[in-house]
Amino acid sequence: MAQAKTATLAPRLDTELARRLVYQMALIRRFEEKAAEMYTLGKIGGFLHLYIGQEAVAVGATSTLRPDDYAVSSYRDHGHCLAKGSDPKRAMAELFGRMDGLCKGKGGSMHFFDRSVNFLGGHGIVGAHLPLATGAAFACKYQGGDQVVLCYFGDGAVPEGEFHESMNLAALWKLPVVFICENNRYAMGTAIHRALSQTEVWRFAETYGMPGEAVDGMDVLAMRDSVGRAVERARKDRTATLIEARTYRFRGHSMRDPAGSVYRTKEEVEREKERDPIAMFTERCYRDGILGEADVKLVEKEVFDRVDEAVAFAEASPEPPPEELFTDVYKD
């Protein structure tokens, strides 16, 4: 249970699955590019943390879930929410702060929630959603179901106490949760070696007596393989797992750090961009004859159209009416 795994194309990978994986990664990529554009136009406010570069993690992981499984994320949540099946139209409307947004425009970029697809939210306080994921897994077990909870967080959450509290409780109580640390090497601007005495994040699994492994987070099939095994463990014998997905964000921490160049070199960023998860996967599909260039072009067109449609939907959606200020503070 060590070392980054590079998956070979599993025999199960058929054209339909390959197409779906490309579609979802491309959808997230295009959604994020468009969101960045809308942000610079002033259509989106606040903080906007883009997922560009990390798409293989959410898409590979989610592809192993059943619809009734749960996912929960940090503030860099668009990719996880879209991968779980949320409507990009409602997601974009949320970014625009409109009434047809996932949360009626009251959550914004950092707080996507979508009950219809069991997406338990984007959470803005680093590390705080790990206990929530643990609690959701507790509820699955309490209710006697066999659902699994995926919990995504960055390497920045690992020094937080709640990471360690959650790992301990999940292992101690045998809860069906898969912790996926998206190690993109920087907690905002702090490189991992400046933040952690143990930079091999997956090794914390040993401490808490649960399975752990590092996986190439730029490889959607490797993610699928690793998370798939973890999900089965969680479902069958309620064993929690820690997966360290080694990935990289191509953009800055947020739109307020557009270049992300103060704390990392341009050369490093360019080098990592050569391992683009979407390009790597499509090239492998071409090589193995699973998808043709025409298939991918078609996917790209669909995705462009779908995101354009999302922007049009968001633009057309009304602002939440003033009375929404006071609804949902309490449930009646």
């Binding site: 009251k106 009950r115 939210g121 929530l132 609690g135 959701a136 709640e162």
Partner: protein
């Protein structure tokens, strides 16, 4: 009706609600095998088993967050803080997760959660174990905050808190656990959140108080009655939402108000109640609203200093005499 202790009343409430709803469970430090640090959960492990009475390691943020996550999936957790002083470690989960989830999800994820345990001035427990914690919570939209004074209130309000679909901060008191009182046996007995009660009717001055301060106020009112001062005692019971109407209508009758508070006075509950009264009933007041509060110092250990920290009967009586021009 039975005469039971405040502690037993809470225990009854937990049992009745667990019998009523299988989604209710109790989680916290020493709630099970140890039978509760203050014995509020006595016998529950035996009666309900490990599935529903869950001992946690010492990780307040972790297990409170587990409660919030479980509530997102529809369970109704009762999280015990061994003492509310420890809730500071869980403050982020309470304030940022529990209180805001319903709102920021646009109503998709209400959080039916109770966080309960003792708080307020205790007996020589010193600065870190003897403080009025409600101030940290009642400021937060999305939370409800309860401070039950009597055994009947403890039972009726805890049952309502567990049935409520919102996060409720329910702060008991070490010093009241042994207090006895009449408590209804009816399993359907509840007291609605957000309703104050007039504990003693009077005509000269309204005294607003809860928990230990209310017991002190009752003694003072008895004493002042002999001097011809008639005190009306109002107990808010729920601090958020606050039943301002009951307080204000009492003040409209008596034209004077003294607000008692055990905790430090600066930016405390007394300030809020005083300002509500002033805004709502200024023209009815014959004197400025007075506050009698805990001193603005941490709780000392030494007994003599501890007694100086919290408003004494003499101090309360003096304030009431002063506002009544006696």
């Amino acid at each position: 009706m039975s005469i039971i202790t405040y502690r037993e009343a809470l225990n009854q409430a937990l049992r009745e609600e667990m019998d009523r709803d299988p989604r209710v469970f109790v989680m916290g430090e020493e709630v099970g095998l140890y039978d509760g640090a203050y014995k509020v959960t006595q016998g529950l492990l035996k009666a309900y088993g490990e599935k529903r009475i869950i001992d946690t390691p010492i990780c307040e943020s972790g297990f409170t967050g587990v409660g919030v996550g479980a509530a997102m999936l529809g369970l109704r957790p009762v999280i015990e803080m061994m003492t509310f002083n420890f809730s500071i470690l869980a403050l982020d989960q309470i304030v940022n997760s529990a209180a805001k989830m319903c709102y920021m999800s646009g109503g998709q994820y209400p959080i039916p959660l109770v966080v309960r345990g003792p708080g307020g001035p205790a007996a020589q427990l010193a600065a870190q174990h003897s403080q009025s914690m409600e101030t940290y919570f009642y400021h937060v939209p999305g939370l409800k905050v309860v401070r039950p004074t009597t055994p009947a209130d403890a039972k009726g309000l805890l049952k309502s808190a567990i049935r409520d679909d919102n996060p409720v901060i329910f702060i008991e008191a070490e010093t009241l656990y042994a207090v006895k009182g009449e408590v209804p046996d009816d399993p359907d007995f509840t007291i609605p959140l957000g309703k104050a009660i007039v504990r003693r009717e009077g005509t000269d001055v309204t005294v607003v108080a809860y928990m230990g301060m209310m017991y002190r106020a009752m003694e003072v009112a008895e004493e002042l009655a002999k001097e011809g001062i008639s005190c009306e005692l109002v107990d808010p019971r729920t601090l958020r939402p606050m039943d301002t109407d009951t307080i204000v209508s009492s003040v409209r009758k008596t034209h004077r108000a003294v607000v008692l508070e055990a905790g430090a006075g600066f930016a405390g509950m007394g300030s809020e109640i005083a300002s509500e009264i002033t805004e709502e009933a200024f023209d009815d007041l014959d004197a400025p609203v007075m506050r009698v509060t805990g001193e603005n110092a941490p709780m000392p250990y030494a007994k003599n200093l501890e007694q100086l920290k919290t408003p004494s009967r003499a101090k309360i009586a003096d304030a009431i005499r002063r506002i009544c021009n006696r």
